[in-house]
């Protein structure tokens, strides 16, 4: 059975916020699932050939050349962002040459 601390640690690693009352529910459910998959311990894996796992897939190579994506597609992708660069740059004309993506501060204050 996973402890509450372990559940909170997993949630933090997964970057998923859990409400306090949810921790207990997930504690029970995750423990159940892990309990079920424990049975893999008993499998004798001698003779397991990991290399042959895929359908004889081989690595595919191509020239390391940049693909000129049409500007229209870049526009579309930028439109999906929750905080569009045009807004964050305060540029009403939307003519900003280099699009920036605004995120919360990564660095702390220097003490």
């Amino acid at each position: 059975m996973l402890s509450k601390e372990e559940v909170k640690k997993i949630a933090k690693l997964a970057r998923i916020d859990l409400a306090d009352k949810e921790v207990e529910k997930f504690q029970k459910e995750l423990s159940e699932i892990l309990g079920y998959v424990e049975q893999l311990k008993e499998v004798d894996i001698s003779g397991a050939d990991l290399v042959g796992c895929s359908n004889q897939l081989k690595n595919i190579m191509r020239e390391d050349e940049a693909d000129e994506k049409p500007a229209k597609q870049r526009e579309k992708l930028l439109e999906s962002m929750p905080e569009t660069p045009k807004e964050s740059l305060g540029d009403p004309t939307g003519q900003a040459k280099d699009s920036y993506l605004k995120v919360k501060s990564i660095l702390d204050e220097i003490n």
Partner: protein
């Protein structure tokens, strides 16, 4: 003749003979959706205007071709539906999740591009379990889909919307995705045909990724012939999916049923299977034997570990694939977040449903330091052995038959609280994904009033043999679409 009851070939026939137009056909389906979908909830989005416009264009294309005496593509003008984890440009693609509730697809998935090139009419996007995680379509953030056979029951999942759309005559065919049984199970529960192709036969580009070594896209159709038509339209190597492989159709001479042996895995008919389902499957096997098909008992010794193996590998890959939903690039972003960590954890905490959070956390745990060897590595080793069991069996037989599900369709709400009870529904389907094999779900009878699907598993890239067997079984069980 009810327009919404037609197969692809029947629709094509009617269009060629000008018995009806693409617009009339499309309207008939849009009407059906209006009347039936309030209850069934198969569609998350219906693109009525786009469909009508496209139908008009295709009518002009077809009329021009008839005038010139040219061939009409078998798929031209055929209305279809697409599971809402497959991108269709200009339409929302939600993966049935709050985290993508307002996300608009910036491009077409390769399979959508391929079908559009064949002049299909897309009616809309269908409901699914969130991110493909589930076996009943109850994990959708936008309400469950109901089984058209009995609306109190689940349609199966995760492609429940697609299966229900085809079963309820709201679409001629639909695209679904299958990671652990998500095409085959709803096909079985709704009484339609569903194909999980060989891993790599169909491009995954534009499919919202769940577990990249297991995900496949495939058709749900009214009969096997339609299934083959759609599969042929979407198969092929795609430079944008490096795991896709060019595969050519097997020559018919190599697929004669008289020369094929069918394997019946003894481990799949033990305890746990519903007696009504077992009766139906055994009766089909008897009919096969009576028709001269050679049946042979085979063993898949590690089959019993497939579910445990899947429920480590799939969540692990999912935890990696779903890390992209961070509230930054697209999707739901928690505005009240105070710092970067809160942007991530609050957006994901609020945007993801419970099953998705469960699976991400299992995956995170299985991949974390100290646990990777015991869980993920071990599961991949067991996976290699499960695949070896199939390879060994396929040295003796050409096909493997099994039930699709040990249980008939269950009531909505019946299993949703018991996580393991829900997972057990996939017990016959997951091993096929682990081994990358193709498999068809074919309706072969009823348990009471409820449809029962037979699973036909083939060797890698031998979908042709599966189709041949499927068509043969349709005849001998007289279950083909009329």
């Amino acid at each position: 003749m009810k327009l919404t009851n037609l197969t692809i070939r029947e629709a094509n026939d009617g269009l060629k003979k000008k018995e009806f137009s693409v617009q009339e056909l499309t309207l008939a389906f849009l009407e059906n959706i209006k009347t039936k979908d309030k209850i069934i909830n198969a569609f998350l989005a219906v693109c009525e205007d786009k469909a009508r416009t496209r139908a008009k264009q295709i009518d002009e294309i077809i009329n021009e071709k008839i005038r010139k005496g040219e061939e009409i593509d078998v798929l031209a003008g055929v209305p279809c539906a697409v599971k809402d984890n497959i991108l269709a440009e200009g339409m929302k693609c939600t993966a049935a999740s709050k985290i993508l509730e307002n996300y608009e697809a910036p491009y077409d998935a390769t399979v959508v591009r391929q079908l559009k090139a064949r002049d299909v009419v897309i009616l809309g996007k269908t409901n699914l379990d969130e991110f493909g995680m589930g076996s009943s379509t109850e994990n959708s953030a936008f309400g469950p889909t109901r089984n058209p056979v009995d609306p109190a029951l689940v349609p199966g999942g995760s492609s429940g919307g697609s299966a229900a759309a085809v079963a309820a005559d709201m679409s001629v065919f639909a695209l679904g995705s299958d990671t652990g049984g998500s095409i085959r199970l709803p096909a079985s529960f709704c009484g339609v045909v569903g194909l999980k192709p060989t891993y790599g036969a169909v491009s995954r580009r534009g499919l919202i990724a769940f577990a990249s070594s297991l995900d496949t896209i495939g058709p749900l159709t009214k009969n096997v012939d339609d299934c083959e038509i759609v599969f042929d339209a979407i198969r092929g190597r795609d430079p944008l999916d490096s795991t896709s492989v060019e595969s050519s159709k097997l020559k018919i001479e190599n697929c004669k049923l008289e020369n094929c042996k069918v394997g019946i895995p003894r481990e799949y008919f033990g305890k746990g299977i519903d007696p009504e389902i077992e009766k139906v499957i055994k009766s089909v096997l008897q009919k096969c034997q009576d028709a001269g098909i050679k049946l042979e008992e085979i063993s898949l010794p590690r089959a019993k570990y497939a579910l445990a193996c899947y429920y480590i590998i799939a969540p692990s890959e999912a935890s990696a694939n779903l890390s992209r939903y961070d509230g930054i690039k697209y999707g739901f972003s928690e505005k009240s977040a105070k710092d970067l960590m809160e942007v991530y954890s609050k957006s994901r905490g609020r945007g993801f449903g419970p099953e998705v959070r469960r699976r991400i956390m299992i995956g995170t745990y299985a991949l974390s330091a100290g646990y990777y060897d015991a869980y993920y590595l071990k599961a991949q080793q067991v996976r290699a052995l499960i695949k070896k069991d199939f390879d060994d069996a396929f040295k003796k037989v050409d096909m493997i038959f099994s039930p699709v599900s040990p249980f008939p369709p269950f009531k909505i709400g019946e299993r949703v609280e018991d996580v393991l009870a829900m997972y057990l529904v996939d017990i016959y389907t997951v091993s096929v994904n682990l081994a990358g094999l193709p498999a068809l779900s074919l309706p072969v009878g009823k348990a009471g009033d409820l449809p029962v699907g037979l699973q036909i598993i083939g060797k890698h890239f031998e979908e042709q043999k599966i189709f041949n067997f499927g068509k043969f079984l349709e005849k001998i069980t007289k279950n083909f679409h009329e």
